[in-house]
Amino acid sequence: MKPQEGERERDQDEQQQEEREEEQQYEQALHPVIADLCYHLSRTPSLASSSRNEGDAAQDHRPSSDAGADADAKNAAPRSKRPGLPLPVAAIRVLLDVIRRSRAETMMGLQADLRDASDVMIAFAKRGGPVPIAATTSAAPSTKYLLANRSHIALSSSCELFLNHVTRSSSHLETATPHFQSQLLERGTRFVEFSLSSRDRISSVASPFVREGTTVLTHGRSKVVEAVLLRAARVEKKRFNVIVLEGRPDAGGAKTAKAYDEAGIPTAVVLDAAMGYVMEKVKVDMVLVGAEGVVENGGVVNKMGTFALGVLAKELGVPFYVAAESYKFTRLYPLNNADLPEMGKLDGGGLAFLDTLSWSVNSSSGSKGGQGKEEKKTEAGEDGSLNACADLSSYVVNLSPSVSVGNPPCDFTPAKYITLLFTDLGVLTPSAVSDELIRLYQ
């Protein structure tokens, strides 16, 4: 008990603990499936003893996570399978709570608190967002990675934007602390609402670009792209085809294919390597991808393979569109792919490259392919092999450790390959991104 008490006495550590709890609380908002597990987590010894604090914290958090649930009620259908609250928006909510419970007397103190909180979350995200899952009856204790195979850029950029927003607003507001906090909270809440509604706004500006009878090629698993295409299909009642790249190693593409299939859009899943072939063969009319982050020169960081797709699209004359929320805009400036910052290493967990060689990931996409085979528009014989899920062991290749295997999650697509960006600030050209960034960070 002693070390925990000692820690509880110190303000900053307590806040950090609270922030970790808060993160976990918001992880509940993200993953309703493991909601109850988080209470029993003990990542650090101090967390176990601060269950008393958790009790109090729970009272505070219930209203805000309920507010989150209400705001996302319109996304009710995807929510049950995947969280409706994006991780960066949850992070901003955490920062809002930091303002709420901050004991800082001055603006500088408040900023320091916010800075600490966001550093904790960004470090967490850089490690891939490991959330330990306690042992259940069937499964052994494991780690669930929130940011598996994705980048921490969106989280850090949204925290940075929020901090900047707070700093900028401080010059307009009075510095009397209590009144000040409520004004900041109000501005912060509006920021959150703006970000939450960004997906709807993006889909409404982007869906006119999906014309009747066209073929759309997409890569990776982006909720924004899904929102756009589903809106075009459901709301605007357009008929178009979707070709999805399977998205190794996390089968992201295959998962989105399921969503499109359920909406009644004719969908085809192809190998990642088939991107060029299928662009010419099936006469793709546009390429639409999401983004992990949009960088200052107008380029995007997105799932590995987007760069190749961009170059191909430019070469073949296919417009290349990116759909991204504005909180993903960051002040990074990679000069080329060699310049990209190190993405979160997953300590060899979960999605190591060797998994794909053993086809274990592919069988999940294979089974989806098998079920929906009648409805899907398939290439000649491409999906045939996936049905034979029975004998997977023959596909396992065991490599010796002397073969180095690399699997970075993201790559960088320069601005010159991107035709337009669909954002909640409107439809932008890549050169306008820097304009917006200068404004946002003014």
Partner: protein, 221 residues
């Protein structure tokens, strides 16, 4: 290329403050040969340097260079860079070899003009400097003049062009600046951050005082 205060400072900071290990290739061109000053400054700081003339550029770009840093005299609103003559060659060759080009330029050098090619509003230097094939600048700033005692070949060439004024059809042109189009510049490094060349106009707008600066988050301001 040449001599730029910004680039020198950048490289010195990287070497001395950040303690990074890298190699600098200083490219130089007649008649000013400013690169020799750069070479002296950098090599005295302990950075390993290579010195070449502009003619050797294509070999370098294909084999040896990973990034190019250039200085600027002025920045046009469309992102084009006005700089010492020869800079455009370096940028062009780097671009065609997919090497990123960074131009270091302070924001006070941004001007409201747009210039489309190099010859407009350029400055002329002394034509005699072009004529004299001797590798020394005939000028007080020249500290290297003493070393350059002409060999026989050089004396001969000097003889050829010394009477250029008498030749009616011959004109010697010593341009001082040239324009690097914005397509060849990967990024412009200013004190407010690294920007794409298309954003220079935005900076100009932000820097001049205006009443109606609308923010992206309209509702929240």
């Amino acid at each position: 290329f040449g001599k730029s205060e910004v680039v020198n400072r950048l490289l010195l900071d990287a070497a001395l403050v950040d303690k990074k290990k890298f190699r600098v290739i200083v490219v130089d061109a007649r008649p000013l040969l400013e690169g020799r000053d750069t070479l002296q400054i950098l090599s005295r700081a302990g950075i390993s340097c290579t010195y070449v003339l502009l003619n050797a550029l294509s070999y370098l770009m294909m084999r040896e260079v990973t990034k190019v840093f250039l200085g600027a005299s002025a920045l046009m609103s469309n992102g084009s860079v006005l700089s010492r003559i020869g800079t455009a060659c370096v940028a062009l060759l780097a671009n065609s070899n997919h090497i990123p080009v960074l131009v270091g330029c302070e924001t006070y050098k941004i001007c409201n003009r747009v210039q489309l090619e190099s010859i407009t509003g350029n400055e002329l230097g002394d034509a005699d400097e072009v004529a004299c094939a001797d590798c020394a600048r005939i000028n007080p700033s020249n500290r290297w003049g003493g070393f350059m005692s002409g060999a026989e070949d050089e004396k001969k060439e000097t003889d050829v062009l010394t009477d250029w004024k008498q030749q009616e059809n011959l004109k010697l042109l010593n341009l001082m600046y040239d324009l690097t189009p914005s397509d060849f510049v990967t990024g412009i490094v200013t004190e407010v951050g690294i920007l794409p060349p298309t954003s220079v106009a935005v900076l100009l707008r932000e820097m001049s005082p205006q009443e109606n600066n609308e923010s992206a988050f309209k509702g929240t301001d």
